[in-house]
């Protein structure tokens, strides 16, 4: 920021010097040596060392772009086999049966469940993480802030494998009780209806575990944005007689809206791509249904993890195509998310 300012100032003064020089010619040129008053070319001449250094840094910086392009390219190249075999059927067919003749590969049902479990996970995680972020920024006693922040970070550092084990063995029995109760007493909601009273490995159980896994990332992004609320506006609201909750709702939440949306989308991206925890818990199903409490759900990432070991060449190519779909999906979601977050940070006129 500051350095930009200086650079601009120097540039504009340089421009003035040049203008004077070219304008009136050399009328006020009184020196004997005509070489001396030539404006020095302000060329950036780097030493050899620096040229190597900058080139290396540029190469490092561009490596990210190259890796991403490579991932897309290779997944696409490897999935060409299945596209030539089943064509657009890949995006319209429901069944995934490598052993049928001819083999059938359709991603629709799997994609459906992937999106459903991610959205439910987000629906659970978003209010929780906004409240937690508010707590961290506004409500908590100052002494609790540091430790709590560390705990949120720790929650993000726990491997997804551990989440999966815990979800399957510890959380699921508890959730099954809730699911049964919901299906008994709240079945007027179509979402909570079940055909068979089996509740393990359902979209609901998977979503709750996913929600816990994306909570830290959403919380930390919302917290970051909330922290940038201009204190003057907060104080103004309080000084006008607002209660704390009134201030939160009229100043902080509107200010952080972009961050909340973007953070949630980043969380959604994480949920879409989560693999092992989901693969451990779910029981695969290829039926599209709104019954989220019932056994049977699916996700692209866990499909790849579970089917990889038994894949022949064609179904491997189908898995690559599934991976490509997932890659494009998460990349799109993430791009939109980081765009929204970045805009909400800079658009508010606060230089982060």
């Amino acid at each position: 920021m500051l350095s930009t300012f200086y650079r601009n100032a120097i540039n504009s003064s340089l421009r003035n010097v040049k203008l004077m020089d070219t304008g009136e010619g050399r009328t006020f040129d009184r020196t004997d040596d005509p070489v001396q008053d030539q404006p020095r070319a302000l060329k950036r001449s780097l030493s050899k060392e620096d040229r190597v250094y900058e080139a290396a840094a540029v190469a490092g910086g561009l490596s990210t772009l190259v890796i991403l392009a490579f991932i897309g390219f290779f997944l696409f190249a490897r999935s060409s086999l299945v596209f030539s075999e089943v064509g657009w059927g890949f995006f319209t067919s429901l069944s995934w049966r490598p052993d049928a003749s001819p083999p059938e590969f359709g991603i629709v049902a799997i994609l459906y469940w992937t999106v459903i479990i991610s959205i439910i996970a987000l629906a659970i995680a978003m209010p929780l993480s906004v409240l937690t972020a508010l707590f961290l920024v506004e409500y908590s006693p100052r002494s609790l802030r540091g430790p709590l922040r560390a705990l949120v970070d720790l929650l993000a550092a726990i491997p997804s494998l551990i989440y999966g084990l815990w979800g399957l063995f510890f959380l699921q029995p508890h959730l099954v009780g809730i699911a049964r109760w919901l299906s008994d007493h709240a079945s007027f909601v179509p979402l909570f209806r079940v055909n068979e009273p089996t509740f393990t490995g359902s979209a609901f159980v998977v979503s709750v575990v996913l929600a816990l896994m994306i909570l830290p990332i959403v919380t930390s992004i919302v917290r970051e944005v909330l922290e940038q609320t201009p204190p003057g506006e907060k104080e103004a609201a309080l000084a006008l007689g607002s209660t704390r909750s009134g201030m939160v709702r009229s100043v902080m939440l509107p200010f952080a809206r972009g961050g909340i949306i973007g953070g949630s989308m980043l969380g959604l991206g994480r949920a879409l791509g989560e693999t092992i925890a989901v693969a451990i818990i779910l029981s695969p199903s290829l039926i599209i249904s709104p019954r989220i409490l019932e056994t049977g759900t699916n996700s692209i990432a866990s499909l790849i993890a579970l089917k990889f070991g038994e894949a022949d060449e064609l179904s491997l190519s189908a898995l690559m195509a599934a991976g490509l779909t997932l890659f494009i999906l998460t990349l799109t979601v993430n791009f939109i998310a980081s765009f929204v977050v970045a805009r909400s940070r800079s658009g508010a006129g606060v230089d982060a």
Partner: protein, 358 residues
């Protein structure tokens, strides 16, 4: 906040200094009273009216009842606006407390389940001579594999990540914005996609076999964005004056970065690396298709299938035999401990890094 007018009505202003505490006995009694009432109501509902639905259901229903009762009593006692304000306070507190619940139960559950299998054999023996029903044997092959794979991944991703961070924050090149966006996007790449990519390139296209190196390549793709982002943030904390000072003294840009900026940010940079390692240690999905896993010790990461702790746990937990499951839980415990230790190191170093400048 809200009781100003009340207190002034009761006592003369300036008579006794107003207590600056936000909490008064009324607030507490409202809260405690609602809680007790809610729990007893739920208990009645549970025992008398509907069939029981387990502890979680009890907890949920009593929480909802508590919230309703609390808001109602607060409305009667303090008015609508204050009741609403208090409800928000309670909601944020409970969200934060709820966050602790999974953390504590995860740690406790893994410790309880895994502790029984923790002995010296677990660290010194592998499973090549152990049948599925036998006790004994251990995860030495997995531990060696994890160490090697993570080490190689660090060797690849740390230079790349630091270079990218330097590019973003020191060189400030033309592609700064797209690179930053792509690093962000890369941090969201599903781990399984990274594994598939390495499988497609390293194993199919280049014709290599499953190996620890392939796993390390996949892991470094996953570590790269974590390291880059954290390192960039740390570099941003280095005051510009130090850079300008170094350049004014005639240092080249490389010397400025290497001799001035990086040493200043050293502990923060190590935090970045440790966080990246913590992310890579627990990754399972990409290893399925890169290092594949094995029961025997393979100390050569360049050739042949290699085991690692996450794979060890993932493979054995699916096994119906108790001895194998026990090993899986112990493996999970070791994994969690490694992550905890790494995380603590990162926190301590990070605290030192930010403490220096304040």
């Amino acid at each position: 906040m809200r009781n100003l007018s009340q207190t002034q009505d009761e006592t003369l202003p300036g008579d006794t200094p107003r207590s600056l505490k936000n909490w008064r006995i009324d607030d507490f009694s409202l809260l405690a009273g609602s809680a007790v009432a809610a729990i007893s109501t739920t208990w009645v509902i549970y025992t008398a009216l509907t069939p029981a639905t387990g502890k979680t259901g009890f907890f949920l229903i009593s929480y909802i009842t508590f919230l309703l009762l609390y808001v109602m009593t607060c409305t009667l006692e303090l008015g609508k606006q204050n009741a609403f304000d208090n409800m928000w306070t309670v909601l944020t507190w409970s969200a934060a407390l709820l966050l602790l619940a999974p953390l504590i139960t995860i740690l406790l559950y893994v410790i309880i389940k895994g502790f029984a299998g923790l002995n010296l054999d677990f660290f010194t023996k592998d499973l090549s001579a152990t049948g599925t029903l036998d006790s004994g044997g251990g995860a030495s092959a997995a531990i060696v594999g994890t160490l090697q794979q993570v080490f190689i991944a660090v060797c690849i991703s740390v230079p790349l990540g630091l270079l990218t961070a330097v590019y973003l924050n020191e060189v400030k090149g033309r592609f700064r914005r797209p690179v930053r966006m792509f690093v962000d996007a890369m941090s969201g790449i599903p781990s399984i996609v990274a594994g598939l990519f390495i499988y497609a390139v390293w194993i199919i296209a280049l014709g290599n076999v499953f190996s620890g190196l392939a796993a390390a390549l996949a892991l470094s793709i996953l570590m790269l964005p974590t390291i880059t982002r954290t390192a960039e943030e740390v570099l941003r904390l280095v005051p510009d004056g130090m850079r300008e000072g170094a350049l004014a003294l005639g240092a080249t840009r490389w010397q400025t970065t290497y001799r001035v900026v990086m040493p200043t940010a050293a502990s923060g940079l190590i935090t970045a690396i440790v966080l990246g390692v913590a992310r890579a240690v627990g990754e399972t999905a990409p290893l399925i298709m890169t290092s594949f896993g094995s029961t025997a010790m393979n100390a050569n990461p360049l050739n042949g299938a290699q085991d690692s702790l996450p794979l060890f746990v993932y493979r054995l937990i699916a096994n119906p035999f108790p001895a194998q499951q026990q090993r899986a839980w112990t493996g999970a415990l070791v994994l969690v401990m490694i992550v905890l230790v790494l995380f603590t190191i990162a926190r301590i170093l990070g605290a030192r890094a930010s403490g220096k400048r304040r």
